[in-house]
Homo-oligomer: 687 residues x 2
């Protein structure tokens, strides 16, 4: 039956291809390999398809909109006009895995209008790059479409085969799931209903969240997502596993409406990354290219940073978040000891969590504790901590835990940022643990998306850099607001502290090909106490060497050294965490396979130093890596942090071997990864 | 011929043994294994012999004194009286390889008097320990012996065999030679006359300096030295290679007199360590037990320390010592950068060398530069450096380079120490590079010995800790004056920077069995840039891992991390230098063979942590080391800094492998040492 539907699809594709072979409504990537064709069928329905090297990737896929209070915008459409354009420019990131980004695409704008009496208009804009495409809908101001209540956006993605997918469920309240790997036809989120997340809402087990990544039987890699999610609802993808078709399913408001807006407006870009290798997905800049230019004029105050924090200690139960429990973590005294550790080890910043009244008590129970983002717990003297940090040359990262109280935070944000400004704090981690209030607003819904955006803009006004936990998935906004350093929006290290289950060894080799394609993640690597002395039944599913490798493999402008200081003391492997840069100007993916392994080399910004990270899933591997990426003519001292001979993520996770070698760009390194293992190398250029 | 003389000796020994078998003039060690017999022959000459487990070690050996202006004290002696006593006590060191020292010996005092008309008297005191013996001469106040000008002390050590010896020549001005290993009968210092030392005076190629270490064909280890060298001249040993006999040969004043003194006086102890293993020599406390108790009442201000310093940079030629050369090392600015490095890496102290006017210019050329120990070079602001260090929590080690001007220093010492006190400096490194002035006073002669002692006592008055370069060999005085932390008095690391030749790979496995038996040495380990980028034709004859191991193998209460800070940055092996304790309370020699290998484990003072160092000469080795020394019932995280698979002191000295292992006292470690290699382990006790 599956085979039959695939054949049918191919046949239809060919037929339509002939029918719609019109230069004016098709567009190819600059290298000609990706081609998008748009057309209108006999009933006046609009559809598009996508091919790669003349092989269909997305078959004919229809687009339409349903409204609460108006007729569906679906049929009787005609192409009024089309426009084409080419963009070929480059722009500079303030921070990122590479600083120079080429933005080279061909554009096609299709202007559509209903032939019926309403004559409603909208445009479909395609931008086709060598690494994929994006398209969005523009709704101009018009008489018969003013206030708009979208009941459903129905953008189809008709797969040309039963691709292998890495997916997690269409949860409206969380992205913190483990990924599943199945054929598309086998997608079924039912098992996720029994998940262990505190907050989760999966209204349709046949929907998945994005980025959704696939591999075709021809070895083509695809990832579906959206870019520039602004004033809209997040898109999940409802899967028709029989017909190999996905349809956009937007997250709703309480009343079931998906998006409340008015013309003129435009939707986010619906994006499809297309690459001939898994590495190509990672090296793609599609998502950021589809966002707007930086809106912050002077960005001098923005820069990447490494940090430690009073955080993991609470996750593993060494201390409590709350002051009225036995052992409050974030006291003045303990903050100072963390500051001392940071100063000693050249870690730029210290995160202070659980510092303010009620934090995060509101999350559980009756939610009666009164709090703001100004009043400290009595045992935490914020000005004194900031003074001490300054004396030691350490920066403090403040924390705004909203406990989901977005409405309250919205009202008090100005004062909260002012307070940070007064203290001289330039970076804030915000958090949204718990059900969102006003109630029945989902994390991925339009209300929260507008909230997150307001917080970013308000932070920018206050010259505050943000990284957000329990955040909406990134959609490339960091290009426009580079003060948005990172987001969580996925299942991070914290689940290894208390998750039942925690993460699994393949999680870290799926994240870079899925969630991390969307933008930087505050995963918080660096656990040395893999077996977690404070948590008998949990462990990190990784070797210690892999924890180091994550600092290179996972790009983020904020990188936490997340373990307890006592677990770093005396351990020579900590030297890598001290050394690994957090600002890069260039990156190369050396090898990659989704869910299996990933090796990336990155060049430190403004120096000749490089670092390399290599990780694997539960299988051990051997690689030969020619160091051709190193600067030519430069000699390097390579400090190699490898899995030990008997290393194994579960049986012997702490077995490592640190070595020391002189290399050049002509050298070839043999890299051996244990089960669940990794290797991290710091290449120090010798003057 | 050699065989014949040995047989003859054995025969004589047996004869005499019978003749002198007198309980009153013999004494044994507490365990009965070492026996000393004293007697008078028919001519009234005094002699002694020593046996170990009834095997003769030292055959009949005569004692006598020659005077400039009086008849030799040699014949017609009679035993007037004898006294016996037993000491069984223990005492506590302030610092040392072990803190508790057992002092358990049997004493025998022989009161001698000439039968002739002068009736001069002197006593010989023997103290016989399980680990060897010491004997000294006491001269009571007496009519016919008042002012005393010793022309020669002639204490014989008549070897009972042609033992294998590790020796260096009887140099009156220096101990900075490489050791020779020969049969006793082959000792000949002629090759040393062509040595490369700036200052050296070898008046007799058949004499050797002490400690002089030997191994008998039965595998008994001996080391000859002296203890409590006070108001006397240093003893060299003149070797009669034909008759397998050594005779004390004291270092002379300019006029040929050896010692100028007056009754009552006593000589230093002549010491013979005796052990059944090479390890036994190292574990012996004989030398300190033969010194006087601590004379410093309050010793709170004395404590071991690790330090870095502006020192190696001058040795390798990165900077100059002197300000009027191109690139003065010890400027205010550079001192601050070293202070920053020390603060960052928890190194307690920073040594400042070449800070004062003329330092060390006076050493060479016309010696016309005027200097004191108060006036800084204009580019070195001492109060500012001290202020900055204090701010950073770092201590400064001052330096008094005398350039051999002992007379001048003696006069100005008070002011120089006052200046250190004013600055708040509590540790001073002193140096005596160059020929000694007043001229023709040798480093090992009585004048200098009194000078060094005066400096130690004056420092103690000022609560200043000293470590002395170009010093007289230690003789256990640190028991009496624990502010004498260490001395050089041997060929240290510095020769690897510019020596032609430098040291050789076996040097470090000879030092602990020779020079270091006498007391702690400021060897300055820790070179990472083994091949010395600033010195093309020199290198350190060691692997990097061996450099780490030296911090454990070489006991000293001052341990320098002597390489350039830039060579430590980023190198994970530096973690060992940060971690290795400098205060211990217990030590165990795991295995040892002179000139071949040495493995020592030491317990950190007041913690359960241990460290282990293992080193080898140019031969690679494998050991199995049961960790029975570790505290029972404690789990340890072992950070293992080992030679890499292809490590070799010359071919691949930087190849190391750092590993990480959980162990207990029941674990057994396999230790693999490369040629010229080593292994260092820090055992961190887990709470």
């Amino acid at each position: 039956m599956k085979k039959y539907s695939y054949l049918l699809l191919s046949f239809l594709f060919m037929v339509c291809n002939v029918y719609s072979n019109n230069d004016k409504t098709s567009v190819s990537s600059p290298n000609g390999q990706i081609k998008v064709e748009f057309n209108i069928d006999k009933e006046g329905k609009a559809f598009y398809n996508v091919s790669h090297k003349n092989v269909p990737v997305i078959g004919n896929s229809y687009i339409s909109f349903k409204f609460n209070d108006a007729k569906e915008l679906k049929e009787n459409l005609s192409v009024v006009d089309t426009k084409k354009n080419t963009i070929n420019e480059s722009w500079e990131r303030i921070w990122g895995p590479t600083l120079k980004v080429v933005n080279n695409c061909n554009m096609l704008e299709i202007q559509l209008q209903e032939k019926s009496k309403l004559k409603r208009r909208f445009n479909v804009i395609f931008k086709v790059y060598d690494d994929g495409l994006g398209f969005r809908y523009q709704f101009p101001e018009q008489k018969n479409l003013n206030k708009v209540f979208i009941a459903d956006e129905q953008t189809e993605f008709h797969l040309s085969g039963d691709y292998t997918c890495w997916w997690n469920p269409g949860d409206w309240d969380s992205d913190e799931h483990l990924f599943s790997k199945t054929k598309f036809s086998e997608i079924d989120g039912t098992p996720y209903l029994k998940n262990q997340l505190t907050h989760s809402y999966i209204p349709d087990v046949m929907a998945v969240n994005t980025p959704l990544t696939m591999k075709t039987k021809d070895g083509i890699y695809l990832s579906f997502h959206e870019a520039n999610l602004t004033n809209y609802a997040s898109m999940t993808l409802k899967c028709d596993t029989k017909n190999l078709k996905m349809t956009s399913a937007l997250v709703a408001w309480e009343d079931g409406t998906k998006v409340k807006t008015q013309t003129p407006f435009e939707t986010p870009w619906r994006t499809i990354q297309i690459a001939e290798s898994a590495a190509g997905l990672i090296e793609s800049n599609l998502i950021e290219n589809l966002n707007e230019k930086c809106k912050i004029e002077n960005t001098d105050w923005i820069h990447p940073q490494k940090y430690i924090g009073l955080w993991w200690a609470m996750h593993v139960g060494q201390y409590d978040w709350e002051m009225d429990k036995n052992n409050h973590g974030t006291t003045t005294q303990r903050s100072k000891s963390y500051i001392d550790f940071a100063a000693k080890h050249d870690i730029e910043s210290v995160l202070i969590e659980g510092w303010n009244e009620c934090n995060p008590k509101w999350m559980v129970g009756e939610r009666k504790c009164q709090f703001d983002w100004i009043t400290s717990y009595p045992d935490f003297d914020f000005p004194e901590v900031v003074r001490y940090a300054k004396e030691k040359g350490v920066k403090i990262i403040g924390q705004h835990e909203t406990n989901g109280l977005a409405g309250k935070y919205m009202n008090e944000m100005e004062g909260a940022y002012n307070f940070m400004n007064e203290l001289g704090i330039k970076t804030v981690k915000s958090g949204y643990v718990g059900a969102k209030v006003p109630a029945n607003n989902y994390q991925q819904g339009q209300y929260m998306i507008e909230h997150y955006r307001a917080a970013i803009e308000k932070a920018a006004e206050h010259k505050i850099q943000l990284f957000v936990h329990e955040a909406i998935k990134p959609t490339g906004l960091c290009r426009t607001y580079p003060n948005l350093l990172a987001e969580e929006a996925a299942r991070g290290q914290e689940f290894n502290a208390w998750g039942t289950p925690g993460n699994n060894p393949s999680h870290v080799v799926i994240l870079p090909f899925t969630r991390m394609l969307a933008g930087s993640m505050d995963f918080t690597p660096g656990i040395f106490d893999i077996k977690l002395k404070y948590r008998e039944n949990n462990q990190v599913p990784s070797t210690l060497a892999q924890q180091l490798a994550l600092y290179v493999v996972f790009y983020s402008p904020v990188q936490m050294a997340c373990d307890l200081p006592e677990n770093y003391e005396n351990n020579p492997a900590f030297q890598f965490i001290r050394d690994v840069p957090v600002e890069w100007d260039n990156s190369k993916v050396i090898n990659a396979e989704i869910g299996e392994y990933l090796t990336i080399a990155r060049k430190e910004k403004d120096t000749d130093n490089w670092a390399l990270g290599s990780i694997t899933n539960e299988e051990k591997r051997n690689f030969e890596v020619p160091l051709t990426f190193l600067n030519e003519g430069v000699q390097y001292q390579a400090f190699i942090y490898a899995d030990g001979e008997n290393a194994h993520w579960d049986k012997n996770p702490l077995d490592y071997s640190i070595r020391n070698k002189y290399v050049t760009s002509k050298s070839v390194l043999k890299i051996k990864l244990a089960e669940g293992g990794g290797q991290a190398i710091f290449f120090k250029a010798i003057e």
